[in-house]
């Protein structure tokens, strides 16, 4: 049956004028060539998982990650474990400030930020759209020790920047830790403005070495509402007599700062 139909088909083709049959042959040839070429050209992994080149997926998955992550850095930089992981910047990954892992130390050290103002204000400059829970400063109003050349690192440890864990500045570094008495609990209010070692900061006078007598006298004045510092009046009113006495003893015991007074 098939052969008969085929024979009829061939008869019909034969009966056509030459140019038509040649044209049909050309078209047929073109289609065959097209189909053959197609099967050669299609990527073998195409259609395996859908209408795409299946090999592309493992290729994309195989690329090496660039950022190593802070866990990787701490593997070698153990000293960071204590101050960074426990501090307020535990949410800031090492490579954010230090750049991507370059293969240190073989390929050179990791980048150390130079312009800290530019870096830190990236997150901490007060901006209307920033949520209130983000610590923010207005640059012009921030108490930098050196207003000419403001530098965040003077007071803030970049790895643990909360002011309670301030960096100890050069002038009082010589004191051995075990000769100091424990600060009384109330001292936590004082150190923000007067420095951790009572060395004084900016406009706030140093307390270290101040006689207990003088200290008590001043504090009682503030507590009575006298004196030219509204802040001190406020603070003094929160302190009990026992607190003032303890603070007076503590600050008297601290070594007075070295000759250079903190600049105004």
């Amino acid at each position: 049956m098939g052969f008969g139909a085929f024979a009829n088909f061939m008869q019909m083709i034969k009966k056509l004028p030459k140019h038509i049959s040649r044209l049909l042959l050309l078209i047929g040839l073109f289609l065959v060539v097209a189909l053959v070429t197609r099967s050669f050209l299609i990527d073998p992994s195409f259609y395996q998982h859908g209408h795409f080149r299946a090999d592309a997926v493992p290729e994309l998955a195989a690329a090496e990650p660039v950022y190593k992550g802070s866990g990787f850095c701490i593997g070698c930089h153990e000293q960071r474990k204590t101050d960074w992981s426990a501090g307020a910047h535990a949410v800031v990954q090492c490579e954010v400030c230090h750049g991507k892992y370059l293969g240190c130390p073989e390929n050179g050290k990791a980048m150390l930020p130079v312009n800290t103002i530019r870096l830190c204000t990236m997150c901490h400059e007060a901006m209307p759209a920033r949520p209130a829970q983000q610590p923010q400063i207005v640059l012009a109003e921030h108490p930098f020790p050196d207003q000419e050349k403001p530098e965040c690192k003077t007071c803030h440890n970049p790895h643990s920047p909360t002011v309670e864990e301030l960096r100890e500045s050069e002038p009082v570094a010589v004191v051995a830790a075990d000769t100091l008495s424990e600060p009384p609990a109330a001292a936590s209010k004082c150190l923000k403005c007067h420095g951790k070692m009572g060395q004084g900061r900016r406009n706030n006078p140093p307390l270290a070495g101040l006689s207990a007598e003088k200290f008590t006298e001043l504090m009682n004045q503030f507590k009575a509402g006298l004196g030219d510092s509204k802040a001190m009046i406020r603070y003094a009113k929160t302190l009990s007599d026992e607190d003032i006495a303890a603070l007076a003893r503590y600050y008297e015991s601290l070594p007075a700062p070295l000759p250079e007074p903190p600049p105004e």
Partner: protein, 389 residues
């Protein structure tokens, strides 16, 4: 050097580099000319309107020479033109671009076949009457057959009719698909419209008729032959009718956007009243559409004849060709100048030189007509040979 678009308001950062440039304006313009010229030839070849016989074969050759250059702006535009065959071997069936590739291929083959049949008797004669390289060329083109018997001609005419009939939806599908690409894109309000394919189609027909008119007048002038006024009048009437319908459609589409007033419409209205005002209302609608409609209306009303009629028709056609070019520009570039945010507007920077530039667009526009000139020499559509269709 990538040109970055300037913007006002807010636009997505990635939008500042406009993806589809002037080459993608030229591309639907060319396919429109293809579809329109084919429509003119079908007036005679399918609908048997004898009035259009003088231009029928010229229109076919025009359609063919422009069609052969249609891939050019696309290939220049593509990031990897050498991979363009991938859309033919692994076409993504959900993509209008992929399906368009097949429409275009199918139509090109169909058009070549139709031209082959139409010019076959002439080619056989030319094969007989020439020698050497020319003779080999014509023999090859006719597939080494010189059969002009009545039976052969009968079969030829059947093929021709079939091809011409299939050709109409094919040509219109080819260009309608482009309208569909824009009309189906929900990401841009300026494009997203059910009317888009029809608008593109009718403005294509209009541009094709206008082009054939201009070419007819031009070639008649060059050859110093008489213009068949009844043919030209028929073309002008067709142009007039289709143009009025096109204007209505385009006006409807714009009215729809404004009337529906969806989110982002403020930006569209600001855009149309501002940066787009001259290109849209004055050049496209005003000078490009309403002026030719009135001009042709007057010519019809006073039954203008003679040289004035030829001049009036030519001017109308040139204005329409400008109109359609601006329409493509205002759709393609205009759509991208309205940001997806609905809050901003961009300005397309068109460089003078470069990949997508005035220069490259001009080359792509002119090239088909150089080919047409060659084809007109090889396969003269106006020499009355014995037994021509």
């Amino acid at each position: 050097m990538t040109e970055v678009a300037t913007f006002t308001g807010y636009v997505y950062p990635n939008e500042t580099i406009i993806p589809w440039g002037v080459l993608i304006v030229i591309y639907p313009y060319l396919t429109g000319l293809v579809a329109g010229a084919f429509t003119v030839s079908s007036f005679y070849h399918v609908f048997g309107m004898q009035q259009f016989k003088p231009v029928a074969r010229l229109a076919l050759l025009t359609s063919l020479s422009v069609m052969l250059f249609v891939p050019m702006p696309l290939l220049i535009h593509l990031g990897h033109p050498e991979r363009s065959y991938l859309s033919m071997i692994t076409p993504h069936l959900t993509s209008a671009f992929a399906m368009f590739g097949f429409f275009a291929a199918f139509y090109t083959i169909l058009l070549m076949l139709e031209c082959w049949f139409v010019f076959r008797p002439g080619n056989v004669e030319r094969a007989r009457n020439s020698s050497g390289l020319k003779r080999t060329f014509y023999r090859a083109i006719t597939l080494w057959s010189d059969d002009l018997s009545p039976r052969a001609r009968l079969i030829d005419s059947k093929w021709l009719l079939t091809l011409a009939i299939i050709g109409i939806p094919s040509a219109h599908g080819l260009h309608g698909y482009i309208g569909f690409v824009y009309g189906s894109l929900k990401a841009r309000h300026w494009w997203e419209s059910d009317l888009m394919p029809i608008i593109f189609l009718f403005s294509a027909i209009v541009s094709g008729i206008a082009l054939v008119m201009v070419l007819y007048v031009l070639t008649s002038r060059i050859r110093r032959t008489a213009i068949d006024h009844s043919c030209l009048k028929g073309l002008m009437m067709a142009l007039w009718g289709f143009l009025m319908f096109t204007v209505v459609l385009e006006g409807l589409e714009f009215a729809n956007i404004v009337y529906k007033g969806k989110e982002g419409v403020d930006m569209i209205i600001a855009y149309v009243q501002g940066p787009l005002f001259w290109r849209y209302f004055i050049l496209q609608f005003g000078i490009g559409a309403l002026v030719p409609v009135f001009l042709m209306g007057i010519m019809v009303a006073i039954n203008l004849k003679g040289r004035a009629f030829v001049i009036g028709s030519t001017i109308s056609s040139l204005l329409v060709l400008m109109n359609v070019l601006f329409m493509r520009w205002n759709v393609v570039i205009g759509g991208q100048e309205i940001s997806k945010t609905g809050k901003g507007l961009l300005t397309y920077p068109m460089p003078l030189f470069g990949h997508e530039s005035i220069v490259s667009a001009s080359i792509v526009l002119i090239a088909p007509f150089i080919l047409l000139a060659i084809l007109l020499k090889l396969f003269p559509p106006w020499v009355e040979q014995s037994g021509d269709t």
